[in-house]
């Protein structure tokens, strides 16, 4: 009896949405007409669509760059902040964490200004070096990297705080023993800091993967997308979640949107399982 309220809430807010989503993923439905069973039709249509292919290709490139770059930047920032004490440590930590608490639309607005052709901060700096203006958010060669830079800027602070907590837990004696053994700063990071941070790095990597798989807001806002038009020029910033939202709220193909959701869930679960398997392998070794 004591668990009944929990079970009720769990059923209403978790089980029912999952079950109804699964139901709609096998049906054609536009929210106005009645549902029509299509079997695996929605899944087949998504997997065969060019938008899905484009979104997955963009996502692959985005993950391959964002996750390692984001963690490297966060790790570097954590080492930097950790090397300071007291006032300066607090100042740096707060400064680097600020983008995390900034609303996404505000961050995107700031970066759209930075990326603006001719008058934007970045183009102004490039101008000092004699380089011509680049339309970062409309040039298909730079759009992805421009979005990656913003995402790394936004997420680095969060990962930095977690890595910093891990760094604080490494006993000072290890570094002192290594100093006596002749290890340089770089060798101390390689042989002590990184191995000692494995559990923390595993967490931020897994979390980074899952977040990257769900990328949506930053590219959506940077490209000024709407449900009528999204993904930027030539779909250079089209990502799966964006594609899913567009199919649902743009084209009113809710059955396909639901199927898209289950495909993404399956991909996220596969990634996570692979990460845990890799970790177990690392422990066994």
């Amino acid at each position: 009896m004591m668990v009944f309220p929990f079970m009720l809430l769990f059923a209403v807010f978790f089980l029912y949405p999952i079950a109804s989503g699964l139901f709609y993923s096998f049906h054609d439905w536009n929210a106005t007409t009645s549902t029509r069973f299509v079997g695996l039709g929605n899944y087949q249509r998504i997997l065969a669509s060019r938008d899905f292919e484009k979104a997955m290709w963009n996502l692959g490139k985005y993950i391959a760059i964002t996750v390692p770059l984001g963690i490297s930047v966060a790790f570097g920032l954590a080492l930097l902040v950790n090397s300071f004490k007291g006032f300066w440590s607090n100042i740096f930590r707060s400064a680097f964490f600020l983008p995390v608490v900034l609303p996404a639309f505000l961050a995107a607005t700031v970066w759209r200004w930075i990326y603006t052709p001719n008058f934007g901060l970045l183009n102004m700096i490039l101008g000092w070096f004699g380089m011509g203006s680049i339309n970062f958010l409309n040039d298909t060669g730079t759009m992805l990297y421009a979005a990656i830079a913003v995402d790394v800027w936004v997420s680095a602070g969060f990962n930095m705080v977690i890595i910093l907590a891990g760094l604080k837990n490494i006993p000072k004696d290890y570094y002192e023993a290594a100093r006596l053994d002749g290890a340089s700063r770089l060798q101390q990071v390689r042989y002590i800091t990184i191995p000692m941070l494995y559990p923390v790095l595993f967490f931020v990597t897994t979390y980074g993967f899952i977040s990257a798989l769900q990328v949506f807001d930053v590219p959506w806002l940077l490209t000024g997308s709407s449900f009528a038009s999204y993904g930027g020029r030539q779909g250079a910033l089209l990502f799966p979640v964006m594609d899913m939202m567009g199919r649902g709220f743009g084209s009113l193909r809710f059955g396909q949107a639901a199927a898209y959701g289950f495909i993404l869930t399956a991909i996220i679960m596969l990634f996570t399982a692979a990460m845990f398997a890799l970790r177990r392998k690392g422990y066994d070794r």
């Binding site: 023993a177 290594a178 100093r179 053994d181 002749g182 042989y191 002590i192 191995p195």
Partner: protein, 364 residues
């Protein structure tokens, strides 16, 4: 020539002076123990020798060379930490080989050196285990092994046995003595445990308040302490101290009236400063006995507060009428009950200290 010379070394953290004008010479092959209560500066001094702590003022010379600005790794010292500081993600072999790997030694040479150290410490069967799979004593031996493979000129031990249980500490103490005999390398050892210091040291350095109180062979410090702090710190239970008035000063003896004693008594003493009217009498427990009668020369009525019966020895903690505590030792004796007793002082074991705690010695 001394292998390690510490000259006029001081160290402060802000307004706190943790070491004050330390001067010390350590000869090659000596086993030196820095001992003192927590916060006396012994670990700071050790860390300054290792290079992990900057030297405030003064000089530290190793084999004649000033090492104040020399990198810790280049001083030729190896340190064993209280926490062992074994890298948990490396095996015992990898931990021991770490310094050699950093120095880019050849693999065959690394293997040879690690195996030689493992052989000395009987660690051969544990080399592939990680620290988490080792007991406290085994971890300690791996930490010592890591120091041995570096073939240092000086070994530094920072309270290495304090995390072990009593039985293991005794065992590890014996192993350290054997290791020192085998390697014949200079060892500097920090502890707050005076029993550990007494059993290990060739030379003991007693520190208190950032100052070296006395330095010498353990039994010399026990028998002939320079001041009340050393007298009280060395020996377990600690030395008894009692206030006394100087009643009369003669050329070859003085007459003392110990507070609470039934009679005054004479103490052979030459060259006593007759201006001193009050002294502190120090006497170790082995010079204090119990009696039912009060006829002896120095007898003090006392009340038994509590008794520690250890089998071979019994310590009776008694309270004197003026509230001071007097510990009486009885070898093989058994407490037969009763609260009131008379403590008897054997005057041959009495040491005198002035009111500042400095020792007053008889002229020879």
């Amino acid at each position: 020539m001394a292998q390690l010379e510490i000259t006029n070394v001081s160290k402060s953290y802000g307004a706190v002076n943790v070491l004050k004008n330390i001067n010390l010479e350590i000869s090659s092959g000596e086993f030196v123990v820095f001992v003192g209560p927590s916060g006396c500066g012994k670990s700071t001094l050790l860390r300054m020798i290792s290079g992990l702590e900057d030297i405030g003022t003064g000089q530290i010379r190793l084999n004649g060379q000033v090492v104040n600005a020399v990198d810790p790794a280049r001083r030729g010292v190896a340190m064993v930490f209280q926490s062992y500081a074994l890298y948990p993600h490396m095996t015992a072999f990898e931990n021991m080989a770490f310094s050699l790997m950093i120095a880019k030694e050849k693999k065959a040479r690394i293997k040879e050196k690690v195996e030689r150290a493992a052989n000395i410490l009987r660690l051969e069967h544990l080399l592939q285990r990680r620290p988490g799979e080792l007991s406290g004593g085994q971890k300690q031996r791996v930490a010592i092994g890591r120091a041995i493979v570096r073939e240092p000129k000086v070994f530094l031990f920072d309270e290495p046995l304090s995390n072990l249980d009593t039985e293991l500490r005794v065992q590890m103490r014996a192993e350290l003595i054997q290791l020192h005999d085998k390697l014949k390398t200079t060892m500097i050892y920090v502890t707050h445990d005076q029993v550990e210091a007494m059993t290990l040291a060739d030379k003991m350095v007693v520190m208190h308040g950032g100052v070296i109180q006395q330095c010498g062979r353990p039994l010399d410090l026990y028998d002939d302490p320079a001041n009340k702090f050393v007298a009280g710190f060395i020996g377990s239970p600690r030395m008894n101290f009692m206030d006394a008035d100087v009643a009369r000063v003669e050329s070859d003896h003085i007459t003392l009236a110990v507070t609470g004693a039934l009679k005054q008594f004479d103490l052979p003493f030459r060259g006593f400063d007759s201006s001193l009217r009050k002294v502190q009498v120090g006497i170790r427990t082995e010079y204090v006995g119990l009696s039912e009668d009060a006829d002896s020369a120095v007898s003090l009525p006392a009340t038994v507060a509590f008794v520690e019966e250890l089998g071979d020895v019994t310590y009776m903690h008694t309270d004197l009428p003026n509230g001071e505590r007097l510990v009486v030792r009885s070898n093989g004796g058994r407490y037969r009950g009763g609260k009131e007793c008379v403590a008897q002082l054997d005057t041959t074991g009495i040491l005198l200290f002035d009111e500042a705690g400095e020792r007053i010695r008889s002229a020879s």
